[in-house]
Amino acid sequence: MSADELIWRIAGGSGDGIASTSQNFAKALMRSGLHVFTHRHYPSRIRGGHTYVEVRASADPVKSRGDGYNFLLALGDSFARNPQEGAYYGNEEAKPLAENLDELREGGVIVYDSGLLDPSEVPNFEERVEENNWHVYDIDLRSLARDQGREVMRNTAGVGVTCAITGIPLSAIEELMRDAMPEKILEPNVEIMETAYDLVREEYDVDAPDVSVPSGEHDEEQVLMSGSDAIAYGAIDEGCRFIAGYPMTPWTEVFTIMSQNLPELGGISEQVEDEIAAAALAIGASHMGVKAMSGSSGGGFALMGEPLGLAEMTETPLVLIEAMRAGPSTGMPTKPEQADLEHVLYTSQGDSQRVVLAPGTVAEAYEASRRAFQLAYEYQIPSMLIYDQKLSGELTNVPASHFDREPNADIGFTLTEEELADQPHTNDGKFHRFQHDGENGVSPRSVPGQKGGRFLATGNEHNPAGHIDEDPNNRVAQMNRRQRKLDAIRADLDDDGLLVEHGPEDADYGILTFGSQQGTVEEAVDRLNENGTSVKALTVAELAPYPIDAVRAFLDSVEEALVVEMNASAQFRGLTQKELGTHGEMLSSLLKYNGNPFEPAEIVEGFTTNIVEDGELPGNETKFVPAAGD
């Protein structure tokens, strides 16, 4: 095992503490000065089933999951057993071991719980171990944990074993456990971890594999954060104090973080009957002058199309979050995909005015969340943030200073009562809320309870005073004004740095991507360049209004480009071709939609096979779709 990076995979059943253990482990590595990145894989069930988390750690910045991994900690799935009959559900029992071998690198380490896992149930286990030069540690973690505490603490025992083999000091983990656990649970956990550590140190040859963990140092203090954390904190810093939602994976993460924190900040969170209500509540609160948001995932977002249109027509600022997962319908609830792009861009009837942003990294998720609120309130328009199950749950280190920003609770062009008095009114005192002459399309607004500001907001076409009006001239004037907002927003966004270029400026080839694939693509680009292929990447985080000029300039600077996205119908490539109206002949696609995000090697392989060598992809993990002209 190379000392460049440690990729530690902890596998077991849902409910066995895989997530919390891996989070602590990642944090300990981050605190020791390493860069970390986690990748989470879990089934849609509460307890049991195959789940794993990878923690990748390196002295250099890591932007993605790695290619495979080099350390497996296989815990028994305690929920795989049927307690009534003492029977097994098929081969569930062996899954933590059996399901994880394909991607384990040569020379890697396997630690498995011999108290619960039987390698004889794993096909060709011995042969594969020998073939791949794996180092196997069979340790009865279950008995070890049971003897000193509770069986469920075998994850802690596993961490003790990991530390013994890799040389990570136990103190680093202990410190975190002290922060996270009450005294009563802490004591046995520490004891179990130490016992496991000592046992391995005494009885096994830990020097056999080359498993020293890389060492590193950070220039500044780091924090471990997920995309969901970053989105929630961005919203809070922009003064969002009202959220309404309905739980749906993976949107629930943002909803939960907000709900747990808003009351302490004097805000309001509402869990309501459905997603139509959720978006409508956000509109109601925003109409009153409060910064509000809602959100969902694919199927729930489908219900929001109707209130979304209402926000557009009434020009009520609205922020909606869409956390994509594999579809159609309920699809694969816990697996990432980027296939709701067209859904978010085009849902709801009529000519649409909306903003769609797609952050690519955890750090960017914070900025994009803030930007979504700024645009929504400045331009009185719905703005949506789309991301996916990958970005929502992955943890990575970000400099703490990145979040050290000033709050902004500005609600945009909203008048005071003094200012309202000078505005045009109808004879009976109705304020002209929807005036035609706003240069950037934005009309000043009032909120209920203000003197002199009374108006009617309606989802029907309306005149400046808000009265329903189907006069053709009024219709055109209002529609033109609403459309003008998009040009102004596009100009604003051009200065935002939402387009991230990576790689040599004069590269021969390009890779175009959006959202959570950014880091993986960038890592692939680095490797391609190291291997002598001249390629650069552009990640587009601004999907509506689309940055036509910038993308065109990028594509004009290369011979050919590969569009990388996680869906089956090349939606982002389609959007790019539609917006540019050209370049279709030079864009081919690399797609993946099997429930797992790309690994860097798959992009390297896909690029090399299709662009450089004109060959065929092995296997069916990814798919290649040639350019329109081919």
Binding site: N261, I268, A278, G289, T314, E406, G429
Partner: protein, 312 residues
């Protein structure tokens, strides 16, 4: 000067203030019951002491949805069935504003039925008027959730096989703390009930019978009305849930046969509103949330100060 000086303003309010000076010609048909709702609402709001600028009227879609074109307050004309969730949040965001929601029987009991049930359950402090004419009017006469069984329409040519919804019982069962029925042809009672509803702290649901002379010519079936709060035939205590339930059952069973009972069926003035409950458990600020955005001195919390440590 407060950012919301219209809220709590104490002055005499003239009902004409609610009439737009250049009144859009109401598009309701001659003889429509909706005129009765508009009239009694214009009468009740000044009685409650609410000015047009501290009142938000949220409507759905349909003939009823046009109410706020003819009532000159702050207004939000939403979409079919969605007036309640918009209204709920508006009230949470700024409890000082008088929030009245209105919609039709198709809008409120059909497409918005889910929201109705949950708003009643949560007991949001607001008034909800359902224009009940037992028909879809603006879409030209289809069977609605309150149309009687056997009702024939273009979309149900063989007569509806469905039992009509029981709005009063549904409301009570769902948890509304004020349930009443009135009728457009009873303007005095309607005005009294609207006033009581707006003064009530909690979800006040009024099933407002409105005749539709164009699409539901049988509207005359509603006459005669009996006011259960006034009539000597009914020794009735509206704070008694069981009695309310019994009366609702009675009238909802024979609504299509003759005597129609109207009045306040049920009121629970002890039960705290949702806003109060939420404040008690610490999930809603004491001061109206909306005010904070107009307070230049308010110090907004930063996530960096609040949460960053747990990620270190």
């Amino acid at each position: 000067m407060s950012a919301f000086s219209a809220i709590g303003e104490e002055r005499e309010v003239d009902r004409n203030e609610y009439t737009p000076e250049i009144e859009p010609q109401p598009t309701w048909c001659p003889g429509c019951g909706d005129f009765g709702v508009l009239k009694s609402l214009k009468g009740a709001l000044p009685e409650v002491g609410r000015t047009p600028e501290e009142t938000l009227l949220v409507t759905g879609i349909g003939c009823s949805g046009k109410l706020n074109s003819y009532l000159d307050s702050y207004g939000f004309h939403t979409i079919h069935g969605r007036s309640l969730p918009v209204a709920r949040a508006a009230k949470l965001a700024n409890p000082g504003v008088e929030v009245v929601a209105a919609g039709g029987d198709g809008d409120g009991y059909g497409i918005g039925g889910n929201h109705f049930m949950h708003t009643a359950r949560e007991n949001h402090d607001m008034t909800y008027i359902v224009f009940n004419n037992e028909i879809f009017g603006l879409t030209k006469g289809q069977t609605s959730p309150t149309s009687p069984k056997g009702h024939k329409s273009k979309t149900q040519p063989h007569g509806s096989a469905k039992t009509p919804i029981r709005p009063l019982s549904l409301s009570l069962t769902s948890g509304a703390s004020f349930v009443a029925r009135t009728a457009a042809v009873n303007p005095n009672q309607a005005q009294r009930i609207l006033k009581e509803a707006m003064e009530h702290d909690g979800f006040a649901h009024i099933d407002f019978l409105t005749q539709c002379p164009t699409w539901n010519k049988d509207a005359k079936q509603y006459v005669p009305y009996t006011d259960i709060n006034e009539s000597e035939d009914y020794d009735f205590d509206p704070t008694n849930r069981a009695e309310a339930q019994e009366l609702m059952r009675e009238t909802e069973d024979k609504l299509y046969e003759g005597e129609v009972l109207t009045g306040v069926y049920y009121r629970d003035d002890e039960r705290p509103s949702y806003q109060q409950e939420k404040q008690q458990i610490g999930e809603m600020p004491e001061e109206p949330l909306a005010e904070r955005y107009f307070d230049g001195d308010y110090e907004w919390e930063r996530s960096y100060d609040q949460f960053i440590d747990k990620h270190k």
